[in-house]
Amino acid sequence: MEIIAEGQGELIGWHDPDENRQWIVEHKSRDLRDKRLSVPEAVAQFVHDGDFLACGGFGHVRVPMALVYEIIRQRKRHLIMAGKTAVHDVDILIGGGCVDRVEAAYTFGHELRGLSPAGRRAVETGQVKVVAEISNAGYQWRFLAGMMGIPFIPSRNMLGTDTLQHSSCKVVQDPWSGKPVCLIPAAYPDVAMFHVPRCDLYGNAQIDGILVEDFELARAARRVIITTEEVISNEAIRAEPWRTAIPFYVVDAVCEVPYGAHPTQMPYLYFFDEEHIGEWLELSKTPEGTAAYFQKYVFGVSDFAAYLELVGGGQKINYLQRVMHFQEPMQAPWLKNKGGG
């Protein structure tokens, strides 16, 4: 098949489909066994220096923050991040010195809150390399191909643009229509991490609200760590099997972490903690401030429960729940910078 155009981006997380099948055969158990671990155990066991890492959720929604903080606490290094509309996780991990490379669909911005000081500083000084560009649908379809065990997904986005030029995609002629078509290569992250509302001890996980690309990402990744608001019984999973978004056989570890997405939003449960996100955005403007943030909220606390106390404890959580349910207005430090027109 003739290649019409070829992106120059680095091909991250790709495997020959037979090689990945073999890896799954050898490493993924079909056994219903108790996979509960503590957050430090799960990170120590399944996240390694140099891994290609992806987090579930989207932007500042349903991000597995307890695991993100633990990666910083354990001083993991040289990670490659999937910037699949990954914002707060990538920014914090870059600030923590854990990341060398990023494949970017949407990163380095905090949406309405502004651009991310830490992530941008790292890229603009060359400390972190963006090794490939892609679009959101493009990244999602990399995981779809991975989940399906096929080498690529044909698509009609990115064509004709620099996004394609700097991606790892190729353009060929569709043998049926004769038109150029983009081929998006499969991606198999070394580790994917998710925060969910409910999961059983085997790893059968439910997600409320939009799935974003978690369905595909969990099935494409080689290792999957779940943090959950609560561990529920296997009976509860079996009573409503249609709610299982991630099945146990792709999951390697289950950690019970109430409010484990803080300061990001957990749909139906708690809102973004804009005060805390704002503090990060302010402190991360300088390397010294960034270090102070981690000293206070990561190295200075023993675990995620101690961190929650530090950010405001039950009173703060109660407020975030009330904002989620429209019982209180949102407050955000960055709002004062928003002028009219």
Binding site: L112, I134, T163, I210, E213, G341
Partner: protein, 258 residues
Amino acid sequence: MPEQATTYTPTELLACVAARLLEDKKSVFVGTGLPMIAAMLAQRTHAPNLLIIFEAGGVGPQVPVLPISVGDARTFYRAVAASSMHDVMSAGQAGYVDYGFLGAAMIDMYGNINTTVIGDWGLPKVRLPGSGGANDIGSFCPRTIIIMRQDQRRFVEKVDFITTPGYLDGPGARERAGLPTGTGPYRVITQLGVYGFDAQTKRVKLFALHPGITLEDVQANSSFAILVPEKVEVTRPPTVEEQRLLHEIDPTGMAIGK
């Protein structure tokens, strides 16, 4: 005639002009910020059955207050479906989404958008967030509407990086590249006016000026020559009712201002 607002901000005007472009009983992919406000305003005025779709999976919501991002739970409040990116992006690629609504950092005379880097890609002067869903929306939608601020650094001859395809290098280029036929940028809305694209050359062409803005203002705030038709419309200012709705939609003023 509905009562017109006596004073209004440029942002309020942008949101109203954008909202009026959307049609009832059509579907639209909506990005963060002003595009959301515009779609929500349209739904509360002339387009109650506008099908709003968010790229992270929110489909047909009745959005109560302005979401902070396209993944915020507000984007699937009272929605007909909370699905996935694969679902909605596939719908766009298959032809189910009529309008796309994007912001942009920079645009060129063919409507190509840059939201990736300023300067060299390898070691950029400014690193911007990247495509997000913009490339997908700009590739798939029959009518993509871009809302942005206009000045000489943002309306440029050639963008540093084509993140999202406009008409690429001119007529027929999208089709040659393999993009779906009948797609492309439709309008660009700035604080000075509204632009369309010339049918023959596919270049940015003035469509309407905002009240009090002159042709000279428009040209002085662009690095490329803007095509001007014989007849240029003038946009209608916000009505009192539209203005009230805008602040009801965004009570904290995070996108519309205080």
